[in-house]
């Protein structure tokens, strides 16, 4: 079945302004948007640039805006979309070229929350003991694939890219909620800062955008509760 794709094009080496280009693709059964993008690149226009790698929703490379909603191109079935399919780069990030956005700031925010285990006691020669119930506390937090869909959907981030954003804060929660971690105070200067957890206005766009069905807003609320418990 033939479908039309209206794709955001930007390459400052060729033209200073962005534009949209429409392609018609013969869609096979069970094709995802990524399959369609590959078909365009390989058969019609080799200059179309986008990121992709695992093509099954675990590497996080191909997050983009598809018919107005952030998602992973490799996971969105073309048959689930209506009309002309509009494909744009993730909003809120600088566009490098076509559907490729600059993720350096996103990853530097991640690094800022000290995303590593800060344990108060040295380990033994065996594993640290953690009950299955304690381990459950980080379910819904550790699965993030860092695709950027959430941060890119966050209005607080759109107006202020210094805001750590939902992905970095979800990662912070993944460590703060880990019963093996004692690093909340070490992370305070970042979390409890002007661009930390207080910049979240609980808009819930991140929850809607997450292709892994995670809940960064809830994670931020958990961080606030932890901080409140520490301060009061």
């Amino acid at each position: 079945m033939e479908r039309q794709f209206k794709i955001y094009r930007f390459n400052p080496e060729a033209a200073p302004a962005a534009s949209f280009q429409t392609y018609t693709v013969d869609i096979q059964h069970a094709w995802t948007v990524l399959d369609a993008l590959n078909a365009i690149k390989w058969d019609q226009d080799g200059s179309l640039s986008f990121r992709r790698s695992c093509r099954h929703g675990i590497c996080g490379s191909c997050a983009m805006k598809i018919n107005g909603k952030n998602g992973l191109a490799c996971e969105v079935q073309v048959e689930s979309l209506k009309g002309v399919i509009t494909v744009e780069p993730l909003p809120g990030f600088k566009v490098i070229r076509d559907l490729v956005t600059d993720m350096d700031g996103f990853f530097s925010h991640l690094e800022a929350v000290k995303p590593w285990l800060i344990a108060g006691t040295p380990p033994t020669d065996k594993e640290r003991v953690q009950s299955p119930e304690d381990r459950k506390l980080i379910d819904g937090l550790y699965e993030c694939i860092l695709c950027g869909a959430c941060t890119s959907a966050c209005p607080s981030y759109w107006v202020n890219d210094d805001f750590l954003g939902p992905a970095a804060l979800l990662k912070a929660a993944r460590y703060v909620m880990d019963t093996r971690d004692d690093g909340l105070t070490d992370r305070l200067d970042v979390l409890d800062s002007r661009n930390g957890i207080w910049r979240c206005h609980t808009i819930f766009n991140c929850v809607e955008a997450c292709p892994k069905s995670l809940n960064p807003t809830e994670a931020i609320v958990k961080l606030r509760q932890k901080l409140a418990a520490l301060r009061i």
Partner: protein
């Protein structure tokens, strides 16, 4: 060209590369180049677990793990390397837990373990829970943890840098040349130690579980520098790729009790591995599946079978195999708590690779002599841990154990080796000229067609069952494709994030090592592990208990050599499951 200096440069940011970077970073200045952002690396796709005989859920010992690894590899693995792998597995697993990997837990709070194909206690007798796991996101959990630890260690990351050439002079590796994809600018990296951790090569097949990035870059780079490639004919086909794309459905699905059915509703593994059934090693199960398909018992006569989890119940599936459930819904539109999953064998893992010694040094003769300053670990390397067929969950284990080991070896090496010496101008200039030549490609041939023909023919001719006729045909075909590649053309002339160029270079790499695979497979006239020859159906220990080494000669031809297998403890025996 921009220039950089680091004591250690690591190429690739999967589990092996990051573990090496983190360890070396404790005392050395380390830079990591990755053609994707580190957390995009394919290690993150590993689902089921990472083997270590912790004995948290039943009696286990490294010796049982050792035996399973040797036997699983059909006795082609080097037993000194395998012994080291299974012994170090235990402290490395604890270290990963200490670093923060969110392993699932037993009721007592220890690292949880699950059964897996080929894992047995008491030297092959009873199934044992040995795979340490984090739900079915084990690789993802390890990859992210190691990336984060590398950040903590102050490792410098060069994200989306694609290596196009190694600089090796007088038997010493001095650095490499890489393309910054974002700008199209070339960079020279000068280092005392370079580690290749570029992952596997199964992208050369049409049906594959591998990511688009798994194009065997490191292998093609060292082969171009005259280093041989070892045991390249051994490629594992995973029994449960989601039909029709081959996306991985973890072996954990069978570990947790999934059944395989053919079109007659029969659990066909009864015929092929009566005692171990679905939990026989991967090569055995994949051959069984391919036989069923070839003999017309695929579902509705098609090219797939059914993996049935429905009897496990919704609770177990959602708790232990959440990602598989999600994958099958998203990519096949099937709820696996209610319906069986359509599966087919899928090209999955590369047992062969860059020959190294136990300290991850790359061997330029494939046997003894190292290239000074060049290291390799993980799937791109061949130590050889896996022999003719890798045991499930030994892959992330190898990446961790040998990545870590390589990191420590490199840290010691750079301390003793003195200052970084930039090489001559010639190699960087040659790399630049080669790159410019490719950028200017304007012939009539299409890269997409060459790639599609390569992948389809590799699946047809160098798949699960091979014959001399198919392999001869494949060798000729690849040579033809290589000739056509010389006339390839691209349309994108800009430098900024030009993925047409990077895909073209990846295709060149794939053509190079695919030829090695086909030639090595044609020469090996026996069936062993993942290499099954219909015309030589038996394992032949007299002739072929030896490793293949394929050298790319200066004139572009391939020369095969062999080296003996290291056998320390377990003598070859018949492999039955």
């Amino acid at each position: 060209m921009e220039h950089h200096r680091h004591d250690v440069v690591v190429v690739g940011a999967g589990i092996a590369g990051l573990y090496a970077a983190m360890k070396a970073g404790e005392s050395a200045d380390v830079g990591v180049l990755s053609k994707v952002y580190p957390t995009r690396s394919h290690s993150g796709a590993a689902q089921g677990g990472c083997a270590a005989a912790l004995g948290n859920e039943g009696n286990d010992s490294w010796e049982f793990h050792f035996y399973d690894t040797v036997r699983g590899g059909d006795f082609l693995g080097d037993q000194d390397a395998q012994e080291l792998l299974v012994k170090e597995a235990i402290p490395v697993m604890y270290e990963m837990e200490h670093l923060g990997v969110p392993f699932s837990r037993t009721a007592e709070g220890k690292i949880a373990q699950r059964p897996f194909g080929g894992h047995f206690a008491d030297f092959g007798k009873t199934a044992v829970k040995r795979a340490c796991y984090a739900a079915d996101r084990s690789g993802h959990a390890q990859l992210h943890c190691l990336y984060e630890q590398s950040l903590k260690q102050g490792v410098r990351f060069y994200n989306e840098f694609f290596v196009i050439s190694l600089i090796i002079e007088d038997g010493t590796c001095r650095g490499l040349v890489a393309l910054e994809i974002r700008t199209g600018v070339l960079h020279a990296f000068w280092a005392r130690a370079v580690m290749l951790a570029t992952g596997g090569y199964a992208r050369a097949w049409r049906v594959t579980s591998n990511s688009h990035a798994n194009t065997g870059d490191g292998l093609a780079l060292v082969a171009a520098a005259g280093v041989p490639l070892e045991d390249m004919e051994f490629v594992q086909f995973h029994p449960t790729g989601l039909y029709p794309h081959g996306i991985l459905i973890s072996e954990a699905a069978r570990g947790e009790g999934g059944y395989l059915f053919n079109n007659d509703g029969m659990r066909f593994m009864e015929k092929y591995a009566k005692s171990k059934m679905e939990l026989a090693p991967r090569d055995v199960v994949s051959r069984a599946e391919q036989t069923e398909i070839d003999e017309g018992r695929g579902i509705d006569g098609g090219e797939y079978l059914h993996l049935d989890l429905t009897h496990l119940g919704e609770k177990t599936i959602l708790e232990r195999l959440p990602q598989i459930h999600e994958l099958v819904v998203k990519f096949a539109g099937i709820d696996c708590t209610k319906k069986p999953i359509p599966t087919q064998p899928t090209a999955h893992y590369s047992m062969g690779g860059i020959p190294t010694d136990l300290d991850t040094r790359v061997l330029r003769d494939g046997k003894k002599q190292a290239v000074e300053g060049l290291f390799a670990s993980g799937e791109c390397a061949c130590v050889s841990n896996h022999g003719a067929n890798r045991l499930g969950t030994n892959s992330t284990l190898e990446a961790a154990v040998f990545g870590r080991r390589g990191g420590m070896v490199m840290a010691r090496f750079v301390k003793e080796a003195g200052p970084i010496l930039p090489g001559a101008e010639r190699p960087t200039r040659e790399a630049e000229e080669g790159f410019e030549h490719l950028c200017a490609s304007s012939g009539p041939e299409s890269a997409k067609r060459i790639r599609a023909e390569l992948q389809a023919s590799m699946t047809d001719n160098v798949g699960i069952f091979r014959t001399a006729a198919k392999l001869q045909k494949q060798v000729a075909l690849i040579r033809d494709l290589k000739a056509r590649f010389e006339n390839v053309g691209i349309s994108d002339r800009s430098r900024r994030f030009n993925t047409e160029i990077t895909e073209l270079i990846e295709l060149k790499y794939m053509l190079d090592f695919s030829e090695v695979i086909a030639v090595s497979a044609l020469a090996r006239e026996e069936s062993r592990g993942a290499h099954s020859r219909n015309d030589y159906p038996k394992r032949d220990d007299n002739q072929w208990l030896r490793h293949t080494l394929a050298f790319r000669e200066a004139d572009g031809s391939l020369r095969l050599d062999y080296k003996p297998v290291v056998i320390t403890r377990f003598q070859p025996e018949e492999r039955k499951y």
